[in-house]
């Protein structure tokens, strides 16, 4: 699923020259605080068994707070894909104002 998202969105980096990976520091600065909040929610949900994972279908590596490795990757890959998407929209619709134009 994660690989699918990477394949599905990261081609935008090359095809539409969205240059998100080249601005990885800005991307990570935007993602880190949000990912932190969502990971705390994830930890709470896992601890209270709101959701649970099939042990046979995950790698089985757990990070801090008993969160599977896939979840950590999820909160990096999905936001990156979202940023690439909005930058791709910007690249196609150059006259649309988003708010950070130079």
């Amino acid at each position: 699923m994660l690989a699918f998202t990477v394949v599905g969105s990261f081609w935008l980096e090359i095809a539409l020259k969205v240059r998100v990976l080249r601005r990885i520091r800005r991307a990570l600065t935007a993602i880190a605080p949000v990912a932190m909040c969502f990971l705390l929610w994830d930890a709470y949900a896992i601890a209270n068994k709101h959701w649970f994972f099939d042990k046979k279908q995950i790698i089985g590596v757990f990070g801090p707070l008993n969160i599977p490795l896939e979840e950590y990757l999820f909160f990096i890959v999905i936001p990156l894909a979202a940023i690439m998407t909005i930058e791709a929209v910007r690249a196609v619709k150059k006259h649309w104002i988003i708010g950070d134009e130079k």
Binding site: R26, A45, F53, I86, G99, D100
Partner: protein, 102 residues
Amino acid sequence: MSYSQISILAVIIAVILDLFIIKTALLKRAAFWSSYAIILPFQFLTNWWLTSRNIVMYDPDVITGIRFFSAPAEDVLFGFALILSVLSLWINLGKRTSANRS
């Protein structure tokens, strides 16, 4: 708090962040909604994969039971909050760098 309650809260927080705290007002931008329209079908696809194969399972007591393409409706709220808050921070960081340069 249940998954339903937290996901609604997350959307409210993301909306307040975008409109009143960070003030990127992405909710008023065509570029944001176009990006979201691109992201949402992919979210349905990946969520469908994760839930229909029982990779992720949910406690029926903490969700409403409404499902879209096998995934709980709450996932849509969760995804919206994640995407809106990350993009709001991303655009805000872009604003700052363009302000520094001018």
